[in-house]
């Protein structure tokens, strides 16, 4: 909690009442009102009444913004588990006090809040639903990275679940078995219970899963007279003959370099994940992050 700035100001205001008007400047009405609310907020905070403290800090800040008020608001919001609001208040503090001596500490704290980790709980529907999945025999991937292999049993309960530490944000969760495939984009918020309900059709045949950023289009063949706008295979499990295959990629309206995949034969399954971290604003095919995997299933 930061008290110094406003407490010093409040003391100055108190003493100003007894001082000669020639030597002391009269503080403006907003500063006075804000300092009163600030002092009351500090008192409420000390008593542990966090909601009252937050209300009073918010009031003080609305009357007259001050970096110390923003900092204290952030501190209280964090203790109230209002992480997103706390991040904004810390950013406000940094925006108002760019030379604050604790700038590096606050930036580190912000980074920690941005990166998490947060817990993602992957669940499925009840067994009565034909689209429920059996995690035990599945690969689970988060953002194209295997987080669980077949054979590892989930936490047993009426609805089996798996817990993973991830950074807050949107994540692509995929479940892949030798007979099916399911995917869902799940939003993970910091310091919240985040559940992602996975389902998959009972059966999807195919030799490779093409996955990644939904803003990309992936074709197995170019547009032709017969098929002017072929369906994108992104987000699908498809059948391609074993061997090296070339996939055509478009990023919005822009052509990208083709991607070569090695489609396995036998009981193995190919997996391709294509994403980009570059801004939507770039008017060209952005730099693509390509992950290729070969998923093995016991025959």
């Amino acid at each position: 909690m930061k008290r110094a700035a406003w407490v010093v100001l409040a003391c100055a205001l108190a003493s100003a009442a007894h001082a000669s008007p020639k030597r002391k400047t009269t503080p403006d009405k907003f500063t006075r009102a804000a300092s009163e609310a600030f002092i009351a907020a500090v008192a409420a905070d000390q008593k542990g009444d966090l909601r009252a403290a937050l209300g009073l800090y918010t009031k003080a800040f609305a009357i007259s913004p001050h970096p110390s008020t923003a900092y204290n608001m952030a501190d209280v919001q964090l203790r109230l588990n209002q992480v997103k609001e706390a991040m904004k208040s810390y950013e406000t503090y940094l925006a108002l006090a760019p030379s604050a001596p604790d700038r590096a500490d606050v930036e580190r704290l912000l980074q920690k809040l941005v990166e998490g980790p947060a817990v993602l709980t992957v669940k499925t529907t009840m067994a009565s639903d034909p689209s429920s999945v059996s995690f035990k025999w599945m690969y689970v991937l988060v953002d194209g990275v295997i987080v669980k292999k077949p054979g590892v049993a989930p936490i047993e309960s009426e609805q089996p679940r798996l817990n993973f530490d991830v950074a807050p944000g949107e994540h692509l969760v995929e479940v892949i078995s030798d007979v099916t495939y399911g995917r869902r984009a799940c939003v993970v918020k910091p310091a919240e219970r985040n559940e992602c309900l996975m389902t998959a059709p009972p059966r999807i045949d195919g030799t490779i899963v093409i996955s990644g950023d939904d803003r990309l289009v992936i074709w197995t063949s170019p547009p032709s007279r017969k098929d002017r706008s072929p369906d994108s295979v992104l987000g699908k499990r498809i059948t391609l003959p074993p061997g090296k295959r070339k996939l055509l990629v478009r990023d919005r309206n822009y052509e990208c370099a083709p991607i070569l995949v090695d489609v396995p034969g036998g009981s193995d399954l190919g997996y391709l994940n294509v994403t980009t971290k570059e801004s939507d604003d770039l008017r060209r095919c952005r730099a693509l992050d390509i992950k290729r995997l070969r998923l093995k299933f016991d025959p």
Binding site: A257, D281, L282
Partner: protein, 302 residues
Amino acid sequence: MKAIVACLLALTSAAAADRDQLGTPPPPGPPRLALPSSAPPKRKPASLAYAPEALSRFVDALMLDKAGDLRDAAHMYEKANQAGPQANTFYNLADVERRRERYQDAIEAYTKYLELAPDAADRKEVDRAIQTLKATPFLAVIDGFAPDAIVLVDGVLIGPSPVVIQLASGAHHVDRISPTGYRGTNIVAKPGDNDHVVMNPIDDDEPNPGNVVLAGSPAIRSIGGWKDKVTGVEYRIPERFTLEPGHYETDLFGDRRACEKVVFDVPKAKGLLYVYLDAKAPAKPGGCLPLKVRTQLLEVRP
């Protein structure tokens, strides 16, 4: 021509590393270029002079900016300015627009920053940034739908499609050649501007496996064809067509508009003969067109 070629600086896409070894091998490309947009972010803080609403929007914008959501960040900085215009908000908006490659918008926002903060300590630096953005070479993205194509600019093979390239001011000729297709066009490059040149064959239903591409500088100013009066051979420019192996000599458009004859040999070897007529504007009005014929045998295969 050398001067123009020297100004062609291709950007090698990170994805280019993934190109298919089975397809057209990429030629050795020019070095990667640092665009103004690739410089790291530079942001200024708020101050106690900000109205609460403007401050709230400013911080929202800052957070979006840091999260990489540049479009929404720009929108939010604009909203902050609507709530109460501030020099630093315009500065940050300019920086976001620079990273979005919206250079004209960036220049406008930097200019507004200088208007609101005429005594800014970084005035010279901002003036320099404006000049740099104004002078940023034209950025062309050249691509198309036919796969396995290659791109040539002003008769120089740049690489497999897609190509992202900075071009010197002025007119340029661009060719995109796929295994069974071709498209050639002229584009005009202006500093600080950019263009997405989608080059599909004029009739993408009909495969064109011709063994010769005839293209030329924008200075030729004409497209179409002619029939050689002596040999009866039909030529078209810019176009892809089939010629028997042998020696060819003809007058451009069958008349005397070019100072030199168009002369080239079609080899028996497999491949595509690319004939580029490198022309300069006539020295005098009504004079003949100085012409250099440059040929190269290309391999364009799926």
